[in-house]
Symmetry: C3
Subunit: 158 residues, 3 copies
C-alpha cells in the first residue's frame, strides 16, 4: 500500500499555495498517495479564474467579491503591496522558469494528487460547486480528512 | 489505546481557531484522544471574555491591552478590516447556523479535548492563570507537547 | 535509531522562528533527531545579520532589500507596528531572560539540530550561499525533506 501524505491548505496566499503544490508533486513523484484538503481561504486556489462567483445575499456577495480567488488572483502572504510584490514575484519566477501556481495545480492533478474542497466552508461562504474548477476530485468535510490523515506518514497544515 | 491527535494553536485568529476546533471535535467524535497546545497569540483563545488581563509593567500592560483576547475578541487572519470582516463572518456563520468560536470551544471541551496553555508564553507576556477560562486543563511547556506528539497519528501546527 | 522531527520554517516572522527553535531544542534535548527546512521567507532566519544580500537584477535587488533577513531583522506576525511591537517583545523577552532568536539559533545548532536551506527559493530569489550564516548544514530541495519527513514522528509546517 502506498504511503500517504495529506495537506490542509487553509491559506489562500500564492506563496503558500506554491509550497503546498511543490510538496504534493514531490511526494507523488516518489510514489506517495497525496490528498490536499482546501478549506477557508484555501478554497480560492480551486476557484475558476474566469467569471464572478455567484452567491446569495449582499454580505456573501461582498465577501466573494473581495475574495474572488482563482490561481491567477492569489496574493502574497508578505510584501503583497497591493499587487506589486505579487507582480515582482511572478516575474522572478518566470525568469528562472519556475512554474506558476496554475501550472503547478495542473502538474499536481496530472500526478494523481487528489483535490478535496471543504463542504463546511462552501456552506458558510454560500458558494456552489459551479464556482470551482473541474479538477476538484471531491467535496467533503472533516471526517474524510481525518480518515486519510490517520494513516498519513506526513500531515501538514499550510 | 486511543489514537492521538495534537494541535499547536499558535495563531489567535478567529478563522484558524474555528479550523482547529472543528478538527479537534471531529477527531474526538471518532474516538481519538486530542490535545490542543495554545501558545503565543493562540493563548488569546483561552482568555476570559470579561474584564481586563492584569499584568505588571507599562509595556506588558500595553501588549495585553492590544492583545486582550477571549473568544469574542478574536480577529480574522484576512479581511479583518478593523472588525468589519469579522462582523460579516460572524453573521454569515449564524445564517447557516455554524457554531461560534465560543460554542466550538465548549463543544470541544465537552468532547474531552484537552486544552493546554503554554507556560513559556505566560511568563514572557506576564500573564497569570486568573486571566484564563476554567476550561484550561493544564499549564505546561514544550516537553509535555513533545511527549504527546511523539505518539500522535496527526500533529498539526495551526 | 533516534526518533525524528522535521520542521518546515516557511515564515520569516520572529515569533514563529522562536516557536520553531523552542520545539527543535526541546526535541533534541530528549534525544530526537531534528531537521529544520527553511524555505521562502523562512530563509531570512538563516541570512547573515551583517551586510547586504548580493543579487542580480533590479527586481531581485528590491526584493532582497525589503527582505534583508538575519535573526536581528525579523518582524512579528502580529502587532509588528513598524518595529515597535518587535522592540517591545524583545524587551519583554530580555526581562524574563528568554533567549533571543539569535541565541536560540546557536543553541539549536549546538544541540545538533540540522539547518537545511531550500535551493528552489535560493534560485527564485537570486540568492547565493554567501548570503547565509555558516551554521547552515546543507542546501537541498523537496526530495530531501520528504525522505526525512516520511520517517518523522512529528512533522510540522510553521
Amino acid at each position: 500500500m502506498a504511503e500517504k501524505m495529506t495537506l490542509i491548505v487553509f491559506s489562500g496566499d500564492m506563496d503558500k499555495a506554491i509550497a503546498a503544490f511543490n510538496l504534493a508533486i514531490g511526494a507523488a513523484s516518489i510514489g506517495m498517495e497525496v490528498s490536499m484538503f482546501f478549506t477557508f481561504w484555501g478554497l480560492n486556489v480551486l476557484k475558476k479564474n474566469e467569471g464572478a462567483t455567484k452567491s446569495k445575499g449582499i454580505m456573501r456577495k461582498m465577501l466573494n467579491f473581495m475574495n474572488r480567488g482563482g490561481t491567477k488572483r492569489l496574493g502574497l502572504s508578505k510584501f503583497h503591496m497591493f499587487g506589486m510584490g505579487k507582480w515582482m514575484m511572478g516575474k522572478l519566477m518566470r525568469n528562472v522558469k519556475s512554474p506558476s501556481v496554475q501550472e503547478l495545480l495542473i502538474m499536481a492533478h496530472q500526478s494523481g494528487v487528489k483535490f478535496i474542497a471543504c463542504t463546511n466552508t462552501l456552506g458558510m461562504m454560500g458558494l456552489d460547486k459551479e464556482s470551482f474548477i473541474p479538477e476538484v476530485d471531491s467535496y467533503a468535510g472533516v471526517a474524510t480528512y481525518l480518515a486519510d490523515a490517520k494513516d498519513g506518514r506526513i500531515n501538514l497544515f499550510i
